[in-house]
Amino acid sequence: MALAKDYDSVMGRSNDIMKEALGLDYEEFESGSIAFDYEALMKSTEYTLDEINRIQSRTGVGNTPLLELRNLTELARKYAKPGYGARIFAKDEAANASGSFKDRRAACAVAHAKKLGYKGVIAATSGNYGAAVASQAAMQGLECVICQECFDSHGVGQPEIIEKARKCEALGAEVVQLTVGPELFYEFLSILEDKGYFNASLYSPFGIAGIETLGYEIAVQCREKLGKDPAMVVCTNAGGGMVTGTARGLIKAGAKDTKIVAASIDLTGLHMASDKQFNMKSCTTGHTGFGVPYATDPDHSDVPRSAARPLRYMDRYVTVSQGEVMYMTEAIANLEGIERGPAGNTSLAAAFSLAQELPEDEIIVVSETEYTGAGKHVQPQLSFARDNGIEVLFGNPKDEKPGVNVILPKDPSFFKCVDADINHFRASLIKKACKVHNVTNPTQADLEFLAAETKTNVDFVKDVIKSL
């Protein structure tokens, strides 16, 4: 008998569909309370860093150049106090097979799907990850479906997302495009169930283990080139995978003093699931609309437990404005001679400002660049903004109002990233974890788990719980 495919029936079978689609039983990591064995989940991939490196090297992924951005460094020094302005480097992840660091995640997940004998892979993503999965599936001879949240109710799509759809199709994937809303997950599950594919989730341990090579390479390249570890690595933060994987790789390389800074575009005030506001944002990733909810509630994803847990690793969380990122995208092209997409320029805009806090002999690394092209480029993004009634002007980016205007810095002295209240996010994670698991009396294991989850200590966790 055919299975009922209505919304409630499919969602009701979600756990069984997922178990089939991941080749992994998450139950074995659970304690029955808040705590779960995160390190055991990460070890369940059974791939060492060397093996992942081999998998990635076979498919044109990894070992990307570490570029020194000399002119941007010189520019930053013009606005720093004497002796300050760290050397800015960028890991040129655009050099990966499909043009972004997402290839590292996809290489690992798709190779695993192939090994387990799945016929195809599926991923829910409107970003570069779709192209990465499509690229890897093409190399491994697997079928591929990408589900995108793409259009508003008038059928108008963000140019950046449309470009990613084009790229997925060019690489042989089927692209399923939907209007705004979280029920994309229903369609995703339904296809997954019909096709029996592997869920190449962004948040599986395979995906996150794939990023560890990035952090490891940063440490090794800095030591080889410069004889020391970077003072800071700045990661654009959306779903939290970049922060988590890069930090884990740096730790594996022994770079224990390197500070991990997460950077997101501040989109406060825009609702991510709003049909009207969907096209009022002038960037589609690396913003607080994803960054904050995923950091404070990582398991709110398409797997039972997310392997991306950024608050475990970040030392600071800073925000920049859309205008700062747009200006920086133009600046890297003009001053460094490389045209790169917006994702990495979020962390670059933050790094330009953070470099001015550090002495000249320190190193600051931006963990990624990404490819650029029609649709995902500063010009179509600003043109799309203007078409949607967003004002584009020069001024102080601090005055930017997401959905109303994009304020380009009047000059480079106006670049100033803003420190978000990380302790507030940490407390929020603790509160949400207690609520989701319906726990009022956490066990000692829960307290220690939450301390690790938030890079704090048991006393901090207890204080938050006491305030509930």
């Binding site: 919304y7 002119n71 520019l75 013009k78 195809g120 479906v145 793409c150 259009f151 109710s153 059928g155 140019p159 470009e163 759809a165 084009r166 199709e169 042989g172 994937a173 089927e174 692209v175 399923v176 495009q177 939907l178 209007t179 705004v180 809303g181 979280p182 029920e183 994309l184 229903y186 369609e187 296809i191 019909d194 609702h271 699931a273 709003s274 049909d275 009207k276 506001q277 200006y327 133009e330 600046a331 003009n334 001053l335 029609a374 649709g375 480029h377 500063v378 010009q379 179509p380 993004q381 600003l382 043109s383 799309f384 203007r386 584009v392 002007l393 020069f394 380009l408 000059d411 480079p412």
Partner: protein, 99 residues
């Protein structure tokens, strides 16, 4: 008439507005969840007909026939005068004039 075997784009309603989950902003709640896919048309049809296609991932999908030989229309956008002002400013700061 669109011939069987042509590459087409179709549209369908996945959930009607009243079938959508409750935790949505009001504006989204009023809209159906819509879907677009592409594939090979399985039988001759006219634009606007309910049709069946075979997608690139060998899935059968049904929907309303929208276009034949669909193509991408996104671009580099219209000229943004502020961008050349940024270029000019950066060059002046770095290579000439006053800081």
């Amino acid at each position: 008439m669109v011939k069987k075997g042509e590459w087409v784009r179709i549209h369908s309603i996945v959930l009607k507005a009243e079938e959508r989950t409750a935790k949505l902003p009001e504006d989204t709640q009023k809209c159906p969840l819509e879907m677009w896919t592409k594939g090979f048309l399985q039988a001759d049809a006219e634009i606007g007909d309910e049709v069946t296609i075979m997608t690139a991932a060998n899935r059968i999908e049904k929907g309303t026939l929208l276009e034949v030989n669909p193509y991408w229309k996104h671009s580099y956008g219209k000229f943004i005068p502020e961008l050349v002002q940024i270029d000019k400013q950066l060059r002046e700061i770095m290579y000439g004039g006053d800081k």
